[in-house]
């Protein structure tokens, strides 16, 4: 039975479509701007500025990026390595912690949960943490400095704990124990198998954080060979502006070696590429995991 819409409903429908379309455009246009700029001839950008549609089409920007691919590829390699290693390690440790904290027969679970949670409330601040990692752990210029700091977050451990608690019934632990399975075996064979959606969500959060990380490089890495992708991009963009300013100040032209506007934008696309490409697949899991986490958390 279809009831005809009253005018309030029609009004809301109109409103909904207008707002959502405007919102989507606002989210989309910046990306289009970069894509367009990366495909515009550099002279055209300098003369007429950025446009939504390339005024003078050219793939020169991409050509420059891929003529000397060494640096970009190396940065890709660093990011890929830290992302994979960090995600796997972090996932392993956090699911184990989540499993232990979810077990009701573990007596100190609330105490330890609180100790983990407490770190989000109070901390030593950036400087003592920085000194800890550089002076006491000696991680300067090592991949450890890129991987270690992001390995675990209290939020994800708690999310994992909640997920395991709701996905794995208490009785399963007991019956597995009676069948002679050890704690680690229960974790490996039962808990991990049953919490796949939770694991997917946590690993996506982790991987995204590692992939987008530039902060660790800027703090701990001096050797340009070990820069992460995002920090490499950051440097390309900012050093160009810096050198350009220097050149303007001293009257010396340094223009020829600088990455051009279109090259910068092409870089940005190359760096974002994998995420834009994987996005349709990733997004589904993200929404699912978040939904479960929000309802049950």
């Amino acid at each position: 039975m279809q009831i005809k819409d009253d005018h309030y409903t029609r009004l809301l429908q109109g409103l909904a479509y207008t707002v959502i379309i405007l919102g989507s455009l606002a989210c989309l246009i910046p990306f289009l701007l970069i894509i367009s700029a990366s495909l515009t001839a550099n002279e055209s950008i300098i003369k007429d500025g950025y446009h939504l549609i390339p005024a003078q089409f050219s793939v020169e920007g991409y050509k420059t990026v891929f003529t000397f691919p060494d640096e970009v590829l190396r940065a890709y390699g660093v990011t890929l390595f830290t992302t994979v290693t960090g995600t796997l390690l972090g996932l392993f440790f956090m699911t184990m912690a989540g499993y232990v904290l979810a077990r009701k027969d573990f007596k100190y679970r609330n105490t330890f949960s609180f100790y983990i949670y407490f770190t989000t409330l109070f901390g030593g601040g950036l400087v003592p943490w920085y000194i800890m990692i550089t002076k006491y752990l000696h991680l300067t210029d090592s991949y450890g400095a890129l991987i270690f700091p992001g390995l675990m977050t209290p939020f994800l451990i708690i999310l994992m704990k909640n997920f395991i608690r709701s996905a794995v019934p208490e009785e399963l632990f007991e019956s597995a124990k009676i069948d002679g399975a050890g704690d680690f075996k229960i974790y490996w064979r039962i808990v991990l198998q049953l919490s796949m959606p939770g694991i997917a969500t946590v690993s996506l959060f982790l991987a995204l954080a590692y992939w987008n990380d530039w902060f660790s490089s800027s703090l701990f890495i001096n050797d340009p060979h070990k820069y992460q992708l995002q920090f490499h991009l950051y440097n390309v963009i900012n050093s160009a502006a810096f050198i350009a300013n220097m050149g303007a100040g001293t009257g010396v032209s340094l223009g020829s070696d600088l990455p051009t506007e279109s090259t910068k934008m092409a870089m940005a696309i190359v760096v974002t590429g994998p995420i834009l490409f994987l996005y349709p697949f990733i997004q589904r899991y993200f929404v699912k995991g978040l939904t479960i986490g929000a309802v049950k958390g």
Binding site: L126, V127, I275
Partner: protein, 288 residues
């Protein structure tokens, strides 16, 4: 099996707490932890007297309040409107598009901002030129950045919180709406009297989580947008960026630690107070 996690938090979070001792010393990188000269509260005194502390606190809290209030209100409005869309593919598509900015890095965000507001060739000035208006040097206008930072925060995070609210809306039973419909409530009344109240618990949870970081707030966003552009500090400097600069640019370790400790302590007291008040009002919503 809990051991890796415990070790991690011990090293990464608890040991650095000892380091707050630097806040009371005139520390430099070469002296060890306990050989640096002890200066008591001098660092704090300096921060306080120079007015830095007050400015940083006001900026930090101001921005975060704006983020929390605007972020949640807009996310709720968008989630409600999105849930009312009837064309399935369109609903899915727009939801994906609005979630997209959450996935790109802050470095890319800075490229976008540069792309739009760059003085010589930015999109904005190109657009203005077409309408015959002169160019605007946005990078020299501190007040504008207050709005820009808030705008880009919303741009990046709206999709994420929208999805959470959307999930909550999907969870509301249809029976309420059917009953209200029979009672003659029109759509706006149904939204106001059913959907909005049902979102309250989600809202409170998100609110408490964001209150927890009210003194920290979005270092990436501020640093990537502003960088080391001193012209804009007055309106855009927050505790995080100040501490980072003291560490990496001006090498003022003692001062940076003092500011960091102040940030942690102030935030901690703030959360405890809020949690206490919430527990008084309604025990279910308290964090701990």
């Amino acid at each position: 099996m809990l051991l890796p996690a415990l070790l991690f938090f011990l090293v990464n979070s608890y040991f650095p707490m000892v380091g707050v001792y630097y806040a009371f010393t005139q520390f430099d990188f070469n002296s060890g932890l306990f050989s640096a000269p002890f200066v008591g509260l001098k660092n704090f005194e300096f921060l306080w007297k120079s007015g830095t502390l007050v400015k940083l606190t006001l900026n930090t809290i101001g921005y975060n309040l704006a983020f929390i209030v605007l972020g949640n209100v807009l996310a709720i409005v968008c989630a409600i409107l999105l849930s009312e869309l009837r064309v399935k593919w369109f609903k899915k598509l727009t939801q994906s598009i609005m979630f997209l900015p959450y996935f790109v890095s802050f470095v890319i965000l800075s490229v976008i901002v540069y792309n739009v507001f760059n003085y010589d060739s930015g999109f904005l000035n190109t657009l203005l030129a077409r309408f015959g208006a002169g160019p605007v040097d946005v990078y020299n206008k501190p007040v504008v950045w207050v709005f820009l930072i808030i705008l880009f925060y919303l741009w990046k995070n709206l999709g994420y919180s929208m999805v959470i609210y959307l999930a909550a809306i999907t969870g509301i039973s249809d029976e309420y709406y059917e009953a209200a419909k029979i009672d003659g409530a029109h759509i706006f009344q149904r939204i106001w009297y059913i959907t909005v109240p049902m979102l309250k618990s989600t809202f409170v949870v998100l609110l408490l989580f964001s209150l927890g970081s009210i003194m920290k707030g979005q270092f990436d966003l501020f640093y990537q947008l502003i960088g080391n552009n001193g012209v804009l500090y007055n309106t855009t400097d927050i505790l995080d960026t100040y501490v980072f600069r003291s560490l990496k640019v001006t090498f003022d370790i003692g001062m940076a630690t003092a500011a960091g400790l102040y940030q942690s302590l102030f935030g901690f007291i703030l959360i405890m107070t809020v949690n206490y008040i919430i527990r008084k009002i309604n025990d279910d919503y308290a964090l701990f």
